[in-house]
């Protein structure tokens, strides 16, 4: 067991006892990677910040209210983040269907956002982020988990609730798609 995992276990033990210091330590340890993970899934910094905050609050509530044993805190945080992003998209889609007028506004807003985002990425960030954003969410997610957050195949399979084989295939396909995107752009 590596030091981080051991530290995580100790923090979990303290978290069960509603220790705010333990929560603060977990926050300091994971706020950046969770934010980054969400940031690539949503289009704005604002959404990323709101969802990141919500992830920590939900995780706290889940740990102190449930007796269920948690084996991997990191995986739990990412799973919560993933579910919150899905919830956000679902909520937006529902609202879009009910209020047609707002749909148009939203589309406009989304277009503006993506345009702004594109300008932002072109000016400030590396091209690779732009290509990542053009990819299917499933592929983008696996690339972030594997190569940015450096999760093991086993951990990814737990977060995504997929088999290890399926995770390997997904990584392979995602890399191929990304390479194709880059090559098309170079041409």
């Amino acid at each position: 067991m590596n030091t981080l995992k051991f530290k995580e276990k100790i923090l979990l033990l303290r978290l069960k006892k509603k220790d705010p210091d333990a929560f603060a330590q977990i926050y300091d340890l994971y706020v950046t990677p969770i934010y980054r993970f969400i940031y690539f899934k949503v289009s704005t910094h604002q959404d990323a910040e709101d969802l990141t905050s919500e992830v920590f609050l939900r995780t706290w509530n889940y740990i102190v209210e449930n007796d269920e044993e948690i084996f991997n805190l990191r995986a739990l945080l990412y799973r919560t983040a993933r579910n919150l992003v899905i919830d956000l998209y679902r909520k937006r889609a529902r609202v879009d269907l009910v209020r047609e007028e707002e749909v148009l506004l939203n589309i406009e807003d989304d277009r503006q956002q993506s345009l702004l985002s594109e300008i932002e990425t072109r000016s400030d960030m590396k091209n690779i982020e732009m290509f990542l954003r053009k990819m299917k969410d499933e592929y983008r997610e696996i690339i972030i988990l594997r190569f940015i957050e450096e999760f093991s195949i086993d951990e990814i399979s737990k977060i995504l609730d997929k088999s290890k084989g399926a995770v390997r295939v997904l990584i392979h396909r995602a890399l191929n798609v990304l390479r194709d995107l880059i090559q098309k752009n170079e041409k």
């Binding site: 006892k17 509603k18 929560f23 706020v31 980054r36 590396k126 690779i128 982020e129 190569f147 390479r179």
Partner: protein, 296 residues
Amino acid sequence: MKNKDIIKSIQELKNISPRSEWQSLNRDFLLQKITADQPVLKVQWFNYLQFSIKIFGQKLFEPAVAMLLMLGIFSGSSLIVNAAFYSMPGDNLYRLKIALENTHVAITSSEEKKVELKMEFAKNRLEELDKIVKQPDVNSDVKKEMINMVVKEFKNNVVSVKDHIEKINTSQPQSVENREKTLRMALTVSSQTNELAQSLDKKSEGLTDEEKINMGDVMADAVASAQETVLSAKGLIGGEAAKDSQGEIKGEEYTIQDNTVQPNSDDSSLNDSNGDDSGSEKIDDTESETTQDIIQ
């Protein structure tokens, strides 16, 4: 662009991080929220103990750890058994060696096999005696104690061989095949015990005069026990041969000689000769021929 280059540029995205002011403000906000309505419980020492036990348990059942543990136990026990095998009287593991030998005998079901094992162990005792006698830098008291122990164990072995033979002798009538086996075994025991008795005598020659005086009685006692075992074996041979001569075995293939079938007066005298070198040689005169002659 190769996958390696793509991965490298993806990893550069690690630089993306939230605004630091938001990070600290959000931290305070969350801490305020979680501590608002919930009392803090202190983590007790037994919580840490439970946690340690759980972690230890999880580690223990990890395949690699479990394999290593099993390997450790297996190789550790093999090393101890191996060390015990080469131990000498006075060593800590010598008792273990004797216990292992006794266990080996206890788990053997066949009486014949038990006798074979006991004979083997008696031989081991003589080899140990040989080594002890050859040890140069050992205090005579220690040597005496070691010899005493080895000879005592030797005597135990030959006495139990005798007991086993008597047990076979008094057991139920056997089939033709079993009787043949018993006869073979009895002959082997008779011959080998005789050799052991001789060997014991020879080995005692390596002792100093003082040691000979000290150990004389013990040695003589062991030789006498060996000779008693020879006699028992011969008695068994006699009994089996008598049954054969009464025509119980059809298609008889044995050629029985008088001097081996009946324990003769020379053999009886051996029993009384405690420690006399000539005694064991007399037995050998008859035995060397009989072993090969009786069973074709």
